[in-house]
């Protein structure tokens, strides 16, 4: 089976927020929740960098490890999904997540957060019917043979989604084409020793 992954090519991301909008549209996400966000570092400086982040569907997902109700599960495609019927809104997944992906509709006294919501890789979630699935988790594009809309809509193709191997292949080709002497690992003292660009050129 495939191992689904997102990858954002930070050298291509132009901070247009198209992915954010596409996601909200595709999944009819609740007011106040943004499953995908675009973060810009050093905005306006020479080394400005933008990157689009959502749930990265970790292999060893910390949210899964800390959830008191065990509401997370991994699909055969390596997508991390959660069962909103089991979620109690304790917030532990948010404490643990490296990417700030889990969000809650509320943030009220006595830990009333409501049901956690996060990116599903456009793969829906557990539900009795299609309508219920859409209502709770948004669209299930994977079931329709489509990739997540954020990546499909990305105007510069900075955001890639798909099988880890395919995504890696595309990125490797880009690295080779960009002609960086040391691959994508600029200023990395280890790069010349590892000869990443050379390896990439011969594999890609």
């Amino acid at each position: 089976m495939a191992q689904m992954k997102f990858m954002c090519d930070a050298e291509r991301c132009i901070e247009c927020n198209g992915c954010v909008t596409a996601c909200k549209n595709a999944n009819d996400v609740e007011w106040g929740i943004q499953r995908r966000r675009v973060v810009t570092l050093n905005d306006g400086e020479a080394d400005e960098m933008s990157i689009s982040v959502a749930c990265m569907h970790c292999d060893d997902a910390p949210c899964m490890a800390v959830c008191p109700t065990d509401c997370f599960y991994k699909t055969d495609d390596g997508i991390v999904l959660h069962d909103k019927d089991l979620c109690i809104g304790c917030g532990y997944c948010l404490y643990a997540c490296p990417f700030g992906a889990p969000q809650f509709p509320q943030q009220d006294a006595f830990g009333e957060r409501g049901k956690m919501d996060k990116c599903t890789f456009c793969a829906g979630g557990p539900a009795e019917s299609k309508e219920e699935e859409y209502e709770k988790y948004g669209s299930n594009r994977i079931a329709e043979g489509k990739l997540p809309l954020c990546a499909e809509m990305c105007s510069t193709k900075a955001l890639l989604a798909g099988d880890a191997q395919d995504v890696a292949d595309i990125f490797r080709q880009r690295v080779v084409h960009r002609g960086h002497k040391d691959g994508a690992w600029s200023n990395n003292p280890q790069a010349s020793a590892d000869n990443l660009a050379y390896d990439a050129a011969h594999k890609g």
Binding site: A10, E11, E15, N17, V20, G32, Q34, R37, V38, V39, T40, L41, N42, D43, G44, E45, A46, D47, E48, M49, I51, V53, P62, A65, V66, C67, P68, T69, D70, D83, D85, L86, I88, G89, C90, G91, Y92, L94, Y95, A96, C97, P98, F99, G100, Q107, D108, A109, F110, G111, E112, R113, R178, G179, H180, K181, A184, W185, S186, N187, N188
Partner: protein, 366 residues
């Protein structure tokens, strides 16, 4: 080209024709120039990556990824998410997970069940501490109705919070496979609601209980002797104890320190509406879990000594009165102060039926 060759041999062109030809020539030359420029650019780019890099936007460097990893959010940090102050990478999340799952969780379980096993072992080897002399039948007021009510409310809440807290930590390993998702979903939701709503009540009541008992729990010199003698287990002689003995005072001060920490961290976790950050709540959670599991383990000792372990102790907290013999054997200094206030069972019954409002204060500093 056809146009050019067709027109060239046409001899002398009229002025209009000459102008058209000039324009066409210009366009073609310009086109050829542009095209050739394009080709050379591509050729240069392919041949010389260094040259391309001088004109291209700078690539992402390792320093930028280091900046991401550090969780830095400087003045030029932007996040498209509404009211989000999260850094790009939550670096401390994994640390929290490791501490919670690798250390707090298993060792908390070992502490609680280890304590239970030790107490069971102690009970089977040493057994219950019986009264040495026969009861005199004369009773002494030890706990007023108010303090008993406070104690049992706090105790009940403590047990509920300990059970629900442990369900939040360990429940998924036991109850989910046992009951299935339907019941588990309901059970864990109820667990969280109970824990989050009863927690603050417990916190407030424990503080009131601690304040109301502070006078009896000021450490004294004889408490140190009490500890050195293991509460009377080392050596044959009785050890001195006031209203509260050394062990009770230790439990009091554990509650007054660790208990307060658990309450404070609990409030941090329970009220996310004050916008405290993810990192704050990670630490609050660790403090809360370590403190609460420790208190739960120690509370088993308190529960054992107060019920099964000591003859005559529980009746003090249920009826409010203890036997004269019990007071003499366990709290001799307190007994010396209040021995003139003993009552017969009939007198106690009469007092209780009259409403208990005439109960004299049983608290004495010792």
């Amino acid at each position: 080209m056809n146009l050019l060759t067709a027109q060239a041999p046409g001899g002398v062109p009229s002025s209009g024709k000459g102008l058209a030809l000039g324009i066409w020539r210009f366009i073609l030359v310009a086109l050829a120039l542009v095209l050739s420029l394009g080709f050379t650019q591509v050729a240069v780019a392919q041949a010389d990556p260094d040259r391309e890099m001088t004109t291209a936007a700078p690539g992402i460097t390792a320093d930028q990824w280091r900046q991401v990893r550090s969780g830095e959010t400087g003045p030029n940090y932007r996040d498209s998410r509404y009211e989000s102050d999260y850094s790009l990478i939550n670096s401390s999340g994994e640390t929290w997970r490791e501490i919670r799952n690798r250390w707090v969780s298993p060792f908390g379980l070992i502490a609680v069940f280890g304590m239970a096993a030790l107490i069971a072992l102690f009970y089977f080897i040493v057994g219950r501490k019986e009264l040495e002399a026969p009861r005199t039948g004369r009773l002494l007021l030890r706990w007023t109705l108010m303090k008993r009510a406070l104690h049992w409310t706090v105790a009940t809440l403590f047990i509920i919070l300990a059970l629900t807290g442990m369900t939040l930590l360990f429940g998924k390993f036991v109850f989910r496979p046992l009951f299935g998702d339907g019941i588990w979903a309901w059970m864990i939701a109820a667990t969280k609601v109970l824990h989050n709503y009863l927690g603050p009540i417990f916190g407030i009541l424990l503080v009131i209980l601690l304040v109301s008992l502070i006078k009896e729990n000021i450490p004294k010199k004889h408490d140190w002797v009490w500890f050195k003698k293991g509460g009377g287990m080392i050596g044959k002689k009785h050890v001195d104890a006031g209203f509260a003995n050394g062990g009770e005072k230790a439990w009091y001060w554990i509650l007054a320190t660790v208990g307060i920490l658990v309450i404070a961290s609990g409030f941090v976790l329970d009220f996310p509406n004050f916008n405290q950050g993810r990192d704050t709540m990670q630490w609050a959670n660790i403090i809360h879990a370590v403190g609460a599991l420790g208190l739960t383990a120690i509370s088993l000792g308190h529960i054992y000594i107060g019920t099964l372990g000591t003859e005559g102790a529980l009746e003090g907290m249920t009826t409010g009165y203890v036997d004269e013999t019990w007071a003499k054997e366990h709290h001799n200094l307190w007994y010396d102060e209040v021995k003139d206030q003993t009552l017969s069972e009939e007198e106690v019954a009469a007092r209780k039926s009259s409403g208990g409002s005439s109960e004299p204060s049983a608290t004495r500093t010792s």
